[in-house]
């Protein structure tokens, strides 16, 4: 290519500034995309996960709608989806976390019309934390406050170096903030984990605890915060670390001007679950007797926080909501998707922006495979593979505008890079809601 051809080629490239990455809960909105037609060729400032997200969502040459595995017009798929849902006695609506809040809103509305069971990927992520905060409250803050104020940053059961690669550089460790002008030098970083993860390398202090010792370790710290004497041998045996290590950590926590604990699924997915999260949130609350202290779940999916917010706006509860009686009932363990499927209760499902056929337990997967369900996803997944009606949709944040919530509940606008011939989640869901209403009115 000569110089004039190169100039001509570059003139065809489009640059999208301040694009938003919706892969993980950091929802970084400072990405500069270079777009060549229907393909993103560069994602400046994106991390490895973000780069893979942007560069691997080209237009897929697959039908927008498949009914029983065969290509079909989208309108026909919408009608079939509405028929499946309205014929169901116990429909499940699940997923929601990787789409816009506008689409999430309609998904919950469909659940309301059909008296369904609405659950999001929160239930297999930080659902236990959602249960815990209802018990003990959550002392929280924005990531902006962490950036500008936090001089003590602890990661517990969380490995952002692999799950949220820009967490350290954009929000929590490296930035020079108003009250931490020297950036990393003004912050103490502690990592608590069972594994010596990549994140441990970034820590000033790494505490490797005993597997399943989170609950005991957190209550050890709560006891120290309350000045309660402890049996040193028992502490060592239950946590895997000597009491002196926990005493030193408590001194550092008390000495902080602004402390924050980011916690991950090492806390919520391990035995104890909501009791672990509750201990951690209560510890953050306890520390406010001494200094300003907060805690934040490190959320995984790009708009899982939006799903929590939308389901709460619409029903009063964040996940695991059953609308079968015409009013919302909340009960994790009963109305959570893993349970509803593993107990073989649901007889139809609408799966939006999630992949339970890959991520759920075997009994839940086997039941989902045995019932008619509708799946919406930009890519072919194990879930779309077995769907009665599969919609291949445009990608939120790349092809579709809208809003996503960052992990600290801050709404972020999405700036799409190029249009898709595939419909958006919102368009499909709006169509299904319309058809559901028509069917219901015909039988009213």
């Amino acid at each position: 290519m000569n110089a004039s051809q190169a100039k001509e080629a570059s003139a065809d490239l489009k640059v999208v500034s301040d694009a938003t990455c919706t892969f993980c809960g950091c929802v970084c909105d400072d990405i500069e995309l270079t777009v060549d037609g229907n393909r993103i060729v560069k994602a400046k400032r994106a991390c490895g996960l973000g780069t893979a997200w942007f560069l691997n969502h080209e237009i897929e040459d697959i039908p927008s709608c498949l009914i029983e595995g065969k290509a079909a017009p989208v309108e026909q798929g919408i009608r079939r989806a509405a028929e499946i849902l309205t014929a169901s006695r116990y429909p499940l609506i699940y997923g929601l976390s990787d789409t816009t809040i506008e689409a999430q809103r309609v998904a919950v509305a469909i659940g309301d019309w059909i008296g369904g069971n609405v659950d999001t990927t929160t239930s297999v992520c930080h659902g236990p934390s959602g249960m815990a905060l209802q018990g003990v409250g959550e002392v929280t803050c924005s990531l902006g406050e962490v950036r500008h104020r936090a001089d003590f940053v602890m990661f517990w059961g969380s490995n952002p170096a692999e799950s949220h690669p820009r967490h350290f550089t954009r929000y929590s460790l490296m930035p020079k903030g108003v009250f931490v002008p020297r950036g990393r030098k003004d912050r103490t970083c502690v990592v608590v984990d069972v594994r010596k993860t990549k994140s441990a390398k970034a820590a000033d202090v790494f505490l490797q605890i005993k597997p399943r010792g989170d609950f005991e370790a957190l209550w050890t710290l709560r006891a120290l915060a309350a000045g309660i004497p402890l049996d040193a041998e028992q502490v060592r045996q239950t946590t895997g670390q000597p009491l002196s290590v926990w005493e030193d950590l408590m001194q550092r926590m008390k000495a902080a001007r602004f402390g924050v604990i980011f916690f991950g699924m090492g806390v919520t997915m391990t035995r104890g679950k909501h009791a672990n999260s509750e201990a951690l949130m209560a510890l953050a609350r306890d520390m406010n007797r001494y200094t300003r202290f907060t805690c934040k779940p490190n959320r995984g999916h790009g708009n899982v926080t939006g799903a929590d917010n939308v389901v709460t706006w619409r029903t009063g509860f964040p996940f695991a909501v059953n609308l079968g009686r015409g009013y919302p009932r909340f009960n994790p363990g009963e109305y959570t998707a893993s349970d509803v499927l593993a107990r073989r209760e649901a007889d139809a499902a609408l799966i939006l922006a999630s992949d339970p056929m890959a991520n759920f337990s075997q009994p839940a997967r086997e039941h989902l495979r045995s019932i008619p369900y509708i799946a919406l996803d930009p890519k072919q997944t194990p879930t779309t593979q077995h769907a009665a009606v599969a919609f291949h949709v445009a990608v939120y944040g790349i092809n579709v505008a809208g809003t996503a919530y960052r992990m600290d509940d801050v709404p972020i606008p999405l700036r799409p890079a190029f249009p898709s011939p595939h419909p958006s989640d919102l368009e499909i869901l709006t169509g299904i809601e319309r058809e559901v209403r028509q069917i219901q009115q015909a039988f009213a």
Binding site: S163, P165, K196, M269, S361
Partner: protein, 124 residues
């Protein structure tokens, strides 16, 4: 003869990138189909990278290739596997009233498979 271990399924950078590339693509399949073991446990069990083992939990059973964990990432007695189909097969359907299946720190038993019974083409 099997031995008790604690298994931690989790996210990795490669697994995360593989989701965007496509779950049926080789990168995702490869990353989610390898079990990491502490090097000292590999040595004790006479395992080398690529050997296959059977892992059994309350929820299910898988056969998977092993590789040593990097440096001192895993303590002895703890296994790691990237989230994927295989890790899900070991989860129980019971959430103990929480909605969340116990998905980390699973009690499992690990049994090396006899090398002579392994098809080398199946090694991950």
């Amino acid at each position: 003869m099997s031995e008790a271990f604690i298994l931690i399924p989790g996210r990795t950078s490669r697994q995360g990138c593989g989701i965007s590339e496509g779950k049926f693509k080789e990168a995702y399949q490869a990353e989610t189909s390898v079990l990491q073991i502490a090097p000292q446990d590999m040595q004790r069990l006479g395992l080398v990278a690529g050997d296959r083992v059977r892992v059994t939990s309350e929820g299910g059973m898988i056969e998977v290739a092993v590789q040593p964990a990097k440096s001192d990432e895993l303590p002895s007695g703890v296994l790691f596997i990237a989230y994927g189909d295989l890790s899900s097969r070991l989860m129980s359907g019971d959430t103990h009233g929480s909605g969340m299946p116990t998905s980390k720190c699973l009690d499992v038993r690990l049994e090396p498979l006899e090398k002579s019974s392994i098809d080398p083409d199946e090694k991950a």
